[in-house]
Amino acid sequence: MQKWKRFAFGFVLATLGLTGLATAEDYTSLPRKETLIVENPEGTIKNPGWFNIWVNGGGGVSTGLQQLTMDTLWYIDPEQGLGGAAWDNSLAADKPQYNADFTEMTVKLRKGLYWSDGVEFTADDVVYTVKTQMDHPGMVWSAAFSVQVASVEATDPQTVVFKLKKPNSRFHAIFTVRWNGAWIMPKHVFEKVEDPLRYDFANPVSLGAYKLKAYDPQGKWYTWEKRDDWQRTSLARFGEPAPKYVTYTDPGPPDKRTIAQLEHNLDIIHDNTPEGMFTLKEKSKTIETWFPGFPFAHPDPTLPAVIFNTQEAPFDNADVRWALALLIDIKAVDMASYRGAATLSALGVPPTAATMKDYQAPMQDWLKDFEIDTGKSKIKPYDPTVGQQIADILRKQPKFKDQIPTDPEAISGAFGYGWWKPNPKAAGELLEKAGFKKSGGKWLTPDGQPFKIRMTVEGDTRSVFTRAGTLIAQQWASFGIDAKAVPAAKLWQTALQPGDFQVAIAWSVETWGGDPDLSFFLDSWHSQFVAKKGEVQPPRNWQRWSNPELDKIIESIRGISADDPKGMELGKDYLKLVAREMPTIPLMSYNVFTSMDTTYWTGYPTIKDPYTDPVPNWANSRLMMVKLKPAQSQ
């Protein structure tokens, strides 16, 4: 009978393709008090057994693979970091050392670091990583190395010298993690592989403090186990990682995520809807969020904005762009999109904690004095009280009144400082200055045609910004412009890259977050990279905007090191320029509604202790492992 039963089970499982699963250990059998359970926002992984992160093979990246097992030379945390600085020398013992003209970079590596299979990490691994990728076009960082590296060599086991094809003061950025970076390959594994492009790297060898324990062959979860020799990894400088096991799962749509966390089966939700977050805050006593009260969410170092295709008339005219900015009622947009839970930005940098300190706060006086000429008058468009006004609106809602900060500094940190105040009169004057006319309540372009705007939005895939774009189009329409929001599937690939749009809601600004150096996105805004109309635009200047003054700023930044204090002054010059020219209308940070359950673990990053970005798909989130503490006795 037993034989027959076993055969029956085997048959059913084989029919359902589960024979491979029979050996996988399920993560719920692990001791809960020793296991951190985290949402993987990538969902179910299509190619679950693929761990070769150096080839874009459809495998997961945020499964814990990049956060817990990979390592590279440096990290810049989007927040304050551990060890007193956002900058972290990880595999490197020190900051990069450049020669005078930035054509050579020398890296000193740490001693005593080991791969999880007991092999020592050395300079040969770094050299192998670069050379292998250069020799195999199609690997993720192969092109970046091929374009920049003339030669690379290990002068001793802890020293690597890069010779560059042309001066580049930011070459180290490729080895610096923001949320990902050029990870170092295990030479001793890959050198035995016939073709690194076709190698799945099953049973991955780890350089991080964790190693693979088990995963679901259908791609729904991955479990990683703390290495016995975690002291021989770069993270050990900050202490011992607390969770013995970390599981990344696909918990399903927002309602399932919310329920799982209410039941304490999911410690960290990567991102929820605003409504899901409000529910959690209301119903759970154990939830921790970045801001303790409204807006709860963590501001990502990206800047959603109204992006103009500046190669298309009339959006090539700064007066038209400014007119459209002055027709936006940001308070209504904020309430429609994030239900008020947003951090606004009038400047062209995301309002992360660091940029608030480095740029937003110091430039408030400049913003208050800033003037634009409408052709008929000069106006000061900035309203420094918008953040305060939003806080006042929310405080009137009984549900939120106790959660809204009252301290002006806290309000600015949570909701932003100010924004442009709606000024339809000035907007009309600017349009007239640009040759537009109003007839029968409708605006006509200089050649007498109805002024039509199609605002491209992402639809369901990013509903928060679809709501914002739709409302902005309505606000323009109520002014007499024929404006409509139109959804586009795959907005980036089908509209932004080919330039097949007029106006869109997206972002073209991504910063380090925790560091004032703006080169991360700004370098690619140089006019040398602006595609001709009809051709594909390389990232990230989706607005296809060029300006000689901007080129000068970018060239000046290229000529100084990343930590030169002059960089911040050049950053402010850029912010003043884009405020005048308005190639994009900055709206607000990309707020990520990350929630953390304290039933099993405490010590999560928050605005009170902002040691790292809480959003768990960022590789920086490895820092959490050493700050977390078990909430219950073992």
Binding site: F9, G10, Q493
Partner: protein, 334 residues
């Protein structure tokens, strides 16, 4: 050459022509979509922090070469057939270099399991009720049951899927509404796992069974209504043969011949999957895979799935055609 052999060869020629045309049309349709797998990959790579425009352009050229997307569309078409002739579906472009066949084989058992079971249940249920309703025409219970199934026939299966999802997932949450098995399930061989898998298949299967049974029911009822007036049935009744035996041995067996033809075609169409059902219930089959492949512009995977479907349906029709003269004496090959 016997007439039957000539018939088989002709039908085989038609089978090859159908497969060739189907795959050709699919090839050109997929290559005309605005989504480009190279740009998809570049999008993923730039998310990893790369923004050097020179490097991105170099990457674009490398990936085009790697993915076999260089040359004209006709050269790509020829290359595709040469590869397919050796049984190679090529690498998936969105999960490069994993072979398309590996990815399909991971999802296919789920669809085959769901579709085979639900098709067979639909077939048995529809024909059983149809036979009974056709024979016992005055039975009120059978009339009512038939009416329910026939009323559900025009409802699109995905609408019914949403209704079931709302009823059993939210209003009366007794059944799982997502996935093929519980995410936290213990995956060791056990009754619990089998039950869990079956539990997860109930709602998707039910959405297919409830809508599908009606068409079998109508067909069977009509066939039975014709047969019961045949002389041999009348004689059997007059001879006092028990009604159950008449229905089983005299009526149903004869009526089942054309129904089995329909069943064979339905089983052939299993490779189409049920895209919307799988999406609604998050079922890990080839329907979900197809949608992912379309979104990612993964030509190879779309072509692999389409080829499977085309060959499956065409092969089923071919097999039915060549077997029919051997099984059914009323069919003659001239």
């Amino acid at each position: 050459m016997t007439p039957y052999l000539i018939f088989v060869l002709k039908r085989f020629g038609q089978f090859l022509l159908v497969v060739f045309l189907g795959v050709t049309i699919t090839f050109f349709v997929t290559h005309l979509t605005p989504i480009d797998p190279v740009e998809e990959s570049i999008g993923a790579i730039t998310q990893m922090g790369q923004s050097d425009p020179n490097a991105i352009e170099l990457m674009r050229q490398s990936l085009r070469e790697l993915y076999g997307m260089q040359g004209s569309i006709w050269q790509q078409y020829l290359h595709f057939w040469l590869r397919l002739a050796t049984g190679d579906l090529g690498p998936s472009l969105s999960a490069f270099p994993t072979p398309v066949s590996t990815i399909i084989l991971r999802s296919l058992p789920w669809t085959i399991g769901l579709m085979t079971v639900s098709t067979l249940i639909t077939f048995v249920l529809g024909n059983a009720i149809g036979a009974l309703a056709g024979y016992y025409r005055k039975d009120m219970v059978l009339k009512a049951v038939s009416l329910v199934f026939i009323a559900m026939l025009p409802i699109p299966y995905y609408i019914l899927a949403f209704v079931l999802l709302i009823v059993f997932g939210f209003i009366w949450p007794v059944l799982p509404i997502n996935g093929g098995y519980e995410m936290n399930a213990n995956l060791d061989l056990s009754f619990a796992l089998v039950l869990d898998i079956l539990k997860h298949s109930i709602l998707p299967a039910l959405s297919l069974i409830l809508v599908g049974a009606g068409s079998w029911l109508i067909g069977m009822r009509a066939l039975v209504s014709n047969i019961i007036t045949d002389d041999y049935v009348v004689f059997a009744e007059l001879g006092g043969v028990p009604k159950g035996k008449i229905l089983r041995s005299y009526i149903a067996r004869n009526a089942m011949v054309p129904q089995f033809t329909g069943l064979a075609m339905s089983l052939g169409a299993i490779f189409n999957g049920t895209v919307i059902t799988e999406i609604v219930f998050g079922y890990p089959g080839i329907g979900n895979l197809l949608i992912e492949a379309v979104h990612a512009g993964d030509y190879s995977l779309v072509l692999g799935l389409s080829a499977l479907s085309i060959v499956g349906v065409a092969a089923a029709v071919f097999i039915i055609d060549v077997l029919s003269p051997l099984i059914d004496p009323r069919i003659k090959v001239e």
